[in-house]
Amino acid sequence: MKRQAVIIGGGPAGLAAALRLREKGIRDILILEREHFPGGILRQCIHDGFGLTRFGESLSGPEYAQRFIDRVRAENIEIITDCTVLDVSPEKVVTAVGKACGLLRVEAQAVLLTMGCRERTRGALATPGTRPAGVYTAGVAQAYMNLQNIMVGKEVVILGSGDIGLIMARRLTLEGAHVKGVFEVQPYPSGLPRNIEQCLNDYGIPLHLSHTVVEIRGRDRLSSVVVAACDERFRPIPGTEEEILCDTLILSVGLIPENELSLAAGVRLDPRTRGAFVDEFCQTEVPGVFAAGNVLHVHDLVDFVSLEAESLADSAAEYLLEGSLPLCGLEVVAGANVGHVIPQRFSGARSFTLSLRVRTPLRNVSVVLRQNGQEILRKKMRKALPAEMIQLPVKAEKLSAEGNLEVSVE
């Protein structure tokens, strides 16, 4: 079959993109979702705090998702669930397989990559030790507890201070588990300050910075972990080892955009974001293939995922209706203290939103944009943390049609 737009993934990015495409007059949209229900990871994020930017109220993840799902249903946008996309070709042929739909082959004019991200696992850390039960990534523990009503353990150690790990520290405590501590290899937390406050400090859960788990022990079930202090190059310091008895280890050690399908489509990835190289239209280097949300770069707030997906859809609609988008021949360069930037290319002719993260925590700094050596924008910040994505609107009238843009935090 043929579709104007095929959206891969029915999470927050995919749903928001579908609705905006429809608003822009695109009739022929198909969303393919791997799970039985749309909504993506929001379904298991039952804590509140979602939607403050978007709706001006504090919603739980399922409520935030439902607002989009209801509108997708009301608009009669086609969505196939229980359907896994197997391949996307550079010619934008999408191959999928599902319980009800069987084998699908869809020729798309535009493909929207909104697959989200997945968690780094124990394998990626290469932590020594045995391989007992009781070691979970934070999101897996969250799915067990919030979707399946399965309690994961009683005596818990958390490795990594990512936001999901912090949220799970609180959730496990509320459900009667004893969270003995959160260990973070870096000298600063990787989650948001408000989550350190309301998930750890509120419950007296200690956060040990510059510490990691150096050994996992246990035969059938986890029986203990060994933790140690680390130096500035993350190497454990001999003599600082301490054994902590526990039956559960939760890993919250980073998220990786899930880009296997993007690679199959011939999309080139940025090693810094692990997502696609995109221009200001969220278009990858394969014309007609777009990416937004956590598959492009990991966000800390879903509100920004929705906004980015809507911006993608504005561009994808223009691509479908006009046949092409303006050329983006200029580069956005990550300068001093900047870990990565999105987009990586721009046209110089239009306004766009720049997203970036700093490499280390900084205080009393400015984000500075320069083109051809000229400063075109400066934003002061009291604090800039790697945990917080920084977004800046860049106005077209400030830009010139020639010269790369350098972004630095100084």
Binding site: L52, S60, P62, E63, N149, L174, E175, L192
Partner: protein
């Protein structure tokens, strides 16, 4: 007295430096909006939090639905609130906004459903 608070009202997570005498806030700095001062005042007089949890569903397409509080309750009552929520079992179907417990612990606060769960077998 001086203390730094991390405001939890929004994702900005402002570090609010507050000078206070007992429960009276003398000055605040570092907050991007007036909510920062209100938060510090609340923290000094009567710290409150919302919580989210889940409740069992009978005959549902899922074993659980999620719930949250409509308003913050005193921080010291969080585990009492969890006890009350744990007692509840609902019958499918449930809808977002359904009130599970009204006036939780005598507070001006309800526990509401935050996920639609249909009956098992229904489409």
């Amino acid at each position: 007295m001086k203390r730094t608070f991390t405001c939890i009202i929004c994702p900005n997570g402002c570090e609010v430096e507050a000078e206070y005498e007992g429960t009276t806030v003398l000055s605040v700095s570092g907050n991007l909006c007036p909510k920062g001062k209100a938060y510090v005042t609340q923290e000094l007089t009567d710290p409150r939090r919302t919580i989210a949890s889940s409740v069992r569903i009978k005959g549902g397409e899922l074993p659980l639905t999620s719930v949250r509080l409509t308003k913050a309750i005193p921080k010291a009552r969080i585990f009492d609130a969890m006890e009350e929520i744990r007692k509840v079992t609902l019958q499918a179907p449930v809808q977002i906004g359904d009130v599970v417990i009204s006036g939780l612990l005598g507070q001006d606060c309800d526990v509401i459903v935050t996920k639609n769960v249909g009956r098992k077998g229904d489409q």
